[in-house]
């Protein structure tokens, strides 16, 4: 019943700002943001609370109107179009299921306002329930479903409209950890099967890495970085992104020279060659993922000398805190049998091409 969506449309923001209160002195929730989301992709807006990601999503939905700038869906300028008149549907964090309507009535709700015939409304709603695996639950009230089932009803209700863009506002935050993984996989599968354009808001970086074609990291009302999950993890643009996506050790370092795109980096006597990424000679920042820190015997050449100050066994790996002259490093080691304990002298090196130079 629900076919591959031919209506999926792109979304673009052109220098959009949203200011609450006085336009000059008020709070800038979104500040001069331009983005372009291609049709048929799942793009995540990721960031800490208050970064403007939800405001951005609500401007796509038409629930907030931009103070400045232009919002386009497909080829249409929808900047001043209210939510009702946009072909966009949204899954809310609280699900916002209408408590006085049955599951089927909830799913049919939007179809009623779309000019379908009665029988077709019924067919499409049932197909929507099938798609999320809730056939036979149509007569229940939302309050008679579990949290996960309610979430699926909310997804079905938005899906059956075959919108140009489907929006998710932290859809998994009310589910427990196991269910979260399962549902996010289902959402991704439906998105890919139906070729939907999906914009997805979350503050959970793991969730974002798992479901997205592209991630837009926001911080303080502006875009901090825009890229594929791998880009963001392996080559974060700045300190904020490195810190926010996964865990990272951020170290002060010095760039001694730059030659042919390669930077000669010095950290307390440990020297490395790294891609320069338009940094300049002088002091700089270096980011290293904990799992890319190699712990070796003390005294190794071209390394940092250190001392293990804390060892925590967390099942499938060890978490180490190592004190070095460059500062405390947080490292993980898969070798759970290693004889490391507090006070052990070690040497620290970084896996090749693992560290990245960061903008502050």
């Amino acid at each position: 019943m629900l076919n591959k969506n031919s209506k999926a449309a792109s979304v673009s923001f052109h220098n959009v700002s949203k200011v609450y209160g006085n336009p000059t002195t008020g709070v800038r929730a979104v500040d001069d943001v331009s983005i372009n989301i291609e049709a048929g992709t799942l793009v995540t807006l990721l960031g800490p609370s208050g970064c403007g990601k939800t405001t951005t999503l609500r401007m796509i939905a038409g629930l907030e109107m931009p103070t400045n700038g232009k919002v386009m869906i497909g080829d249409m300028d929808v900047t001043n179009l209210p939510a009702t008149d946009r072909d966009v549907s949204m899954v809310f964090q609280s699900y916002a299921l209408f408590p006085h309507m049955s599951v089927l009535e909830n799913v049919s709700y939007g179809l009623k306002f779309s000019g379908f015939k009665k029988s077709e409304i019924q067919d499409r709603a049932l197909a929507g329930l099938n798609l999320v695996g809730l056939e036979g639950y149509g007569d229940r009230l939302p309050s008679e479903l579990s949290g996960g089932q309610q979430q699926r009803v909310a997804v079905a209700r938005a899906l059956v409209l075959e919108p140009q863009v489907l929006l998710f506002d932290e859809p998994l935050s009310n589910l427990d950890a196991k269910l979260r993984r399962q549902v996010r996989e289902e959402i991704r599968e439906i998105q890919q099967n139906l070729g939907l354009t999906v914009v997805y808001v979350t503050h959970d970086q793991e969730e974002a890495l798992a479901v997205s074609d592209r991630i837009i990291v926001m911080n303080n009302a502006v875009i901090a970085q825009d890229g594929t999950p791998r880009d963001l993890y392996d080559a974060p643009a700045n300190r904020f992104v490195a810190d926010f996506i996964g865990e990272a050790n951020i170290l002060d370092c010095r760039i001694a020279a730059i030659e042919g795109g390669e930077a000669q980096v010095e950290i307390e006597g440990y020297s490395l060659k790294l891609p320069a990424r338009d940094s300049h000679v002088g002091s700089a920042l270096l980011g290293v993922r904990p799992n890319r820190i190699v712990v070796g015997n003390p005294g190794a050449a071209n390394s940092l000398a250190g001392e293990v100050v804390r060892v925590t066994y967390v099942g499938n790996h060890l978490e180490l805190t190592i004190k070095t002259v460059a500062g405390d490093l947080f490292a993980t080691s898969d070798d759970v049998d290693a004889l490391l304990e507090s006070g052990t002298k070690v040497s620290v090196t970084f896996a090749k091409n693992a560290p990245v130079l960061l903008k502050n």
Binding site: G62, G147, A154
Partner: protein
């Protein structure tokens, strides 16, 4: 779907078309001026329609040459046609609608006020344009439809300009509420304000106002030397005493119900609700039966201590007791919500921080109840100020503002200016109290409900407090039961204190029905007329009140627009205006064109709507703030517009609030007296004013019998409404989705 989206944003304007049709119908088909019977009897069709002056539509009135000032409306009714085929985003579309709507509406109002039953209404117009050969009467159905059409054409223009996200329904609703509040609250009050300055020969003068304002009967302090005090002082002292006493009593009740192990809580609740469905002056009557010259208690005490019975109860003491009994339940209803609303975790937190029960109550519970206490006091104060029945029945020589206003209007002295001045003093007192309350509460937040599940329990009252509270509640309860027994019993006594035989005589006089031989019923009882009128008016005004109140609440809680604060103040203003003031201002304002509705049922309905609307607004706001906003938003993103959202999502979830608003406005319409007494006419007499009339003739038996019947009818009506509105089944209720946020 694409096609639908296009029609939504394209150039079809079904709402605009609808209002244009309404406007054209109003101008070309329906009689422009008010007709004698209801429009729906269609009697006007046979009285020379469409050319006779009395029933002609605006267009024919205009082209017949005499009332040429009606023709400009046509221009503004034709104009919007040119907007019909333009898309909403076209600036010209909005411009045409705004210009036509605003100018049309403005012209309609301007001509209505300028030309009255004696030609020009203002001297300067006559000087400017010369005398006018014609005149006009109050606006009728045609004019109303044209006015509504202009109003909604204007709001659609404003919406097309992008106000409130371009939402036609919301902008229209805002415009509608503003207009009716302006016409039926601000205009009469303003009108009354000016009439306080009018001299005998119809010119304006400040000295007239001061002469009336400084009257000794108003501000005299003679009672301090054993004489009589002015009505203003009497009213003020009485209102403050009533406000404080009812607040304390209401708090005592609320505490017993929520914070003690008291076993008959349900009974207590029922007992406190009873006075709400009792016309306020009925308590006064019962007090006369108990403490009057031939009252039971008076005679009993006189027999024991051997002194002659006195008339001590007539005056301040009687009015005070009656008002306290009548208004304590209102204070209770306000306070129960607040006392229950204080989050138990706050109190539990205080206890874990080593405060004992008494300290917890004094330092946490009581301060958090401050808004409730202030509201309860304000209500008691305003109710006492506005109360008309009890002072009339029990006042004796104790003059208060509300009765003085009444006698200034209906008495031998017929002095509109004096009534207006007195009403202004009354209004100043209540608005002053309103302002003082806001000032006292300040900007502190007293919100204790977080929406998160709060599983704690309220601590019990400390012992030192529980005992006096129990005592107060006990005495009050016994007293109330006595009073109501008296009312029921009194309705069967032939002549209280003189002939104490039991009889059905009063009920028969009031409600007898004769069956002729053919089985035809004839309502021969003297009360039937006013009884049917009361039921009819209450039944019409209750749903309208609830509707206006809930729409206003929706706008206040769910929409953001410029001037929202003044909007809220305007809609709540009629709450602070005593009924007596509304009554006076309505007869002053609506006795003459353009709105000539004095003496009709319409003025009663309208007065009830605006008297009782604030309660509907409050009830609506309270329940709507419990509905998560994402419910509306999801409905909007699913393609419903805001009207459909209101209808399909908000209303079904608001049934308790709807019920509350319906019950309240129905009951108030049946028991109200203060505004009604000015507005009733021979044709539309209400039960309460009929009863007051019987009381003035010392016909207590009939008055009490009628009141008892009213109480029973209201009980039945409340039950029926409960059945009609029904419940919305939402299973385990919204606590589930919302508690997870």
């Amino acid at each position: 779907m694409q096609a639908i989206a296009e029609t939504k944003t394209g150039s079809a304007h079904p709402t605009l078309l609808l209002w244009l049709v309404v406007g054209w119908a109003g101008f070309f088909i329906l009689p422009w001026y008010g007709v004698e019977d209801s429009v729906f009897t269609f009697g006007w069709l046979f009285e020379g329609y469409p050319l006779d002056d009395d029933v002609a539509p605006g267009f024919f009135q205009g082209i017949s040459g005499k009332k040429g000032w009606l023709l400009p409306h046509l221009i503004f009714l034709i104009g919007p046609i040119f907007a019909l085929n333009r898309p909403r985003s076209d600036p010209l579309h909005a411009k045409i609608l705004i210009i036509c709507g605003a100018l049309g509406f403005g012209w309609l109002i301007a001509q209505g006020f300028s030309i009255g039953i004696r030609g020009w209404n203002f001297g300067w117009q006559e000087n400017l344009f010369g005398p006018l050969g014609d005149r006009q009467f109050g606006m009728g159905t045609g004019a109303m439809l044209v006015a509504s059409a202009f109003l909604f054409i204007l709001t659609q223009g404003v919406a097309a300009r992008g106000a409130v996200n371009g939402d036609i329904f919301v902008v229209g609703a805002i415009g509608f509420v503003i207009t009716i509040v302006a016409i039926f609250v601000f205009y009469p009050i303003f009108n009354m304000l000016t009439s306080a300055f009018v001299t005998q020969d119809n010119s304006y003068s400040i000295s007239v106002f001061f002469e009336k304002f400084t009257d000794r009967r108003l501000w005299g302090l003679g009672c301090l030397q054993g004489g009589r005090c002015g009505a203003a002082w009497n009213s003020l002292v009485l209102a403050i005493l009533v406000g404080m006493t009812t607040t304390v009593l209401g708090l005592a009740f609320a505490l017993v119900v929520t914070r003690t192990g008291f076993r008959f809580k349900r009974g207590l609740r029922a007992l406190t609700v009873l006075p709400i469905i009792t016309p306020p002056f009925v308590i006064g009557l019962a007090i006369i039966l108990l403490f009057g010259l031939s009252g039971n208690v008076t005679r009993f005490v006189a027999d024991i201590i051997g002194i002659a019975p006195t008339r001590w109860v007539y005056g301040m003491p009687g009015v005070l007791i009656a008002q306290i009994l009548a208004f304590t339940p209102i204070a209770f209803l306000v306070l129960i919500g607040v006392v229950e609303g204080v989050s138990p975790s706050m109190e539990e937190a205080a206890q874990t921080l080593r405060a004992n029960r008494w300290e917890t109550f004094r330092t946490v519970s009581l301060p958090l109840m401050r808004p409730g206490l202030a509201n309860a006091f304000l209500l008691g104060f305003i109710e006492s100020m506005a109360d008309f029945g009890n002072p009339l029945v029990l006042g004796g020589n104790f003059d208060v503002l509300s009765t003085e206003i009444f006698f200034a209007i209906v008495g031998a002295q017929y002095d509109q200016g004096r009534a207006a001045v007195l009403a202004l003093v009354l209004l100043a007192f209540t608005l002053g109290a309103f302002w003082a309350q806001r000032f006292w509460l300040g900007k502190k937040s007293y919100t204790t409900m977080t929406g998160k599940g709060d599983s704690g329990v309220h601590p019990l009252l400390p012992k030192g407090l529980a005992i006096p509270v129990y005592a107060i509640v006990g005495i009050w309860t016994v007293f109330t039961i006595t009073i109501y027994t008296m009312i029921v019993y009194g309705s069967f006594v032939e002549l209280w204190g003189v002939r104490n035989d039991l009889t059905f005589k009063h009920y028969i006089t009031a409600f007898s029905i004769d069956f002729t031989q053919e089985g035809v019923r004839k309502y021969t009882g003297s009360a039937w007329d006013s009884f049917w009128t009361t039921l009819q008016i209450a039944a019409i005004s209750a749903p309208l009140t609830a509707a206006v109140g809930l729409v206003t609440a929706y706008l206040l809680t769910r929409q953001n627009f410029a001037g929202k604060n003044s909007f809220e103040f305007g809609t709540m203003l009629s709450f602070a205006i005593p009924g007596t003031v509304i009554g006076v201002s309505y007869i002053l304002a609506f006795n003459v064109p353009p709105l000539e509705i004095t003496g009709t049922g319409v003025i009663l309905v309208v007065s009830f709507i605006f008297r009782n609307m604030p309660v509907g607004v409050r009830a609506g706001i309270a329940s709507m703030s419990q509905l998560d906003k994402s419910l509306d938003e999801s409905s909007l993103t699913l393609g419903a517009n805001s009207w459909q959202t209101f209808l399909n999502v908000i209303l079904p979830l608001l049934k308790p609030a709807i019920l509350a608003a319906l019950v309240y406005s129905f009951v108030r319409a049946m028991t109200a007296i203060s505004a009604v007494i000015f507005l009733v006419s021979a044709e539309y007499n209400m039960a309460t004013s009929y009863i007051i009339g019987r009381v003035e003739n010392n016909d207590y038996g009939l008055a009490i019998a009628y009141s008892t019947s009213l109480i029973i009818v209201m009980l039945a009506a409340v039950g029926l409404l409960q059945l009609l509105v029904g419940r919305t089944n939402i299973g385990r209720r919204h606590s589930r989705p919302s508690s997870k946020n």
